[in-house]
Symmetry: C2
Subunit: 333 residues, 2 copies
């Protein structure tokens, strides 16, 4: 690749003029500007941005910490982050933590050694995280939960869960089960609060047998948890799963056990991943504005990095209840 001296020689101007023409074109004459751009074009010159980064002590990149890049929901949030970052001249470094705190720490190190300017954290939990202890750098939580002191973008998980259970109640369901993620997962905690609240408000007695915890938010865990639901002596008439993957796995188990969805049992998920509408039956779910969450989180982070004040510290976005064929009125006894 050619260097700035070759550009200066071909354009017949000093290297300082080349540098100014590229960075502050208003400081050079139109004629010099034209000569420099012609030489840049002919030599296919690209400035070495490592020098800019070194001088400015900035990397112009941000890290996303995601529990799994292969998760359909998080990868859509990532897409939103990437779009906003590229628009503002930043790159996105991929921190696939695989839910490992050790891997998370290695990515925090990137910010501490100046290789990234800030972090977007997808993991909803701050538990055991080094971030809370070391967070003297720009950070935004995306998709998190209530009670984060740090800047965040999310939906109201409690209200969203409550609206699904209220929808089931409006169809006549009273025996409504739920499959949560891990008990300590903040999404599970918030969504369980919403589930309980809706039932209490409708004077439906909580049956602890109807609250099942999956091992994690995967389809395989949904299959396992769904077979526990299928083995209950008295099958619930409705089932709220705390993400779409769990719902898909649970429906697979219910069908295998000989039950029809929604005739025997209505099922709903959460997130509205692309597969939800193409499942059999298509899945009733909560649509999270995943792209928008990513874009807003990214812009909030870059504002922090560039020292602009954030107008809002915690942004709460709207969700939609999407009703599809996996849910219907309660079956007659």
């Amino acid at each position: 690749m050619s260097n700035i001296r070759e550009v200066s020689r071909l354009a017949g101007v000093s290297t300082a003029t080349v540098s100014r023409a590229l960075r502050n074109p208003e400081l050079v004459s139109k004629e010099s500007q034209r000569k420099v751009m012609e030489a840049v074009e002919r030599l296919n010159y690209r400035p070495n941005m490592l020098a800019r980064n070194f001088r400015s002590e900035r990397s112009y990149s941000i890290v996303i910490l995601t529990p799994s890049i292969a998760s359909p929901f998080y990868s859509r949030v990532t897409r939103g982050v990437e779009l906003a970052a590229q628009n503002r001249g930043y790159s996105v470094l991929l921190g696939d933590t695989r839910d490992s705190l050790r891997r998370e720490d290695e990515y925090i190190e990137l910010v501490e050694t100046r290789l990234a300017d800030g972090i977007i954290q997808f993991r909803p939990s701050e538990e055991n995280s080094e971030i809370a202890r070391r967070a003297n750098f720009p950070i935004v939580y995306a998709c998190g939960c209530a009670d984060t002191a740090l800047p965040s973008v999310r939906i109201d998980n409690i209200e969203a869960a409550r609206s699904i259970v209220n929808y089931f109640l409006s169809l006549g369901h009273r025996r409504i089960a739920t499959i949560c993620g891990q008990p300590e997962n903040p999404h599970s905690i918030d969504r369980l609060v919403g589930y309980r609240r809706a039932l209490q408000e409708a004077d439906v007695t909580l049956d602890p047998e109807l609250i099942v915890h999956a091992d994690d938010y995967s389809m395989a865990s949904g299959v396992k948890a769904g077979s526990r639901i299928a083995r209950l002596n008295d099958l619930p008439t409705a089932l709220f799963c705390m993400n779409d993957e769990i719902a898909i796995g649970a429906i697979q188990s219910l069908k295998r056990a000989g039950f029809s969805v929604p005739e025997d049992i209505s099922v709903a998920g959460f997130d509205n991943i692309d597969f939800a509408r193409h499942y059999d039956p298509p899945l009733t779910t909560i649509d999270q504005p995943s792209d928008e969450i990513g874009q807003i989180a990214c812009n909030m982070l870059i504002d922090q990095i560039e020292g602009r004040p954030n107008s809002q510290n915690n942004v709460i976005l709207d969700y939609d209840l999407i009703v599809r064929a996996s849910s219907g009125t309660v079956r007659p006894d």
Copy 2:
């Protein structure tokens, strides 16, 4: 964050000694080394790696160019890249090109301006790409096709498609349809070669009506293409879809039209994404070693960057035919 002068002051040694203790500990005394590490620990000092990058003219990061980060298959390849990169001290920059050449060019620019040391290209096509013209930088093609002069890691798409059609033939099928991606897509081209080859070898006359092109590799396009198959006067008894998303969409359309899978028509996909096993019916498909493709591509790229010779320029990995409930013997007439 603390700086090297504070470390030097606390440790009671020169900044040059601090620098040596961190980079070449064998050059300093054990006592100095101990003092420096204690001071580093107490001050939570992290060296500014932007200086290292500037001096070495290296960014220690690589870019992946992916047509869609939200694609379940590409996101698993990405996970493999990320794992290998982190093991070798490199970061992965996310280039979500959304199949746009303009966005792709902006990421190529990162390498040309030294903000990345090389590129892993997921897009199988070199058509209209700036890479071929400008590729004076390290690059590896992952998941590509035959006929790439540049280093690549992939499976044999022609053979994999041929093995699916041979499997259908072994079950007694003769009227076998296929849904391809876009006609110019190299995956479609290779897999169509394999489809034709298997039929020719079995002396089955090709029926052009049975070759349908989807708009792209999405489920929505699979729905559209599947409804064209469902409307054929003489329904084929088997259908090979060139990825799992198309297969899922096509099955949805076939079911809506009143057909049973596999009783009326056997269906197979390609890739073995996580959803394939959880669909109804679970999907027969080709399992690509996605994680391994990503890891090998990443290691080949870093070898190029670091000037080590690659023992192989084009790596071809094994695939597996996974038989699940979406396919069965031909229906009796």
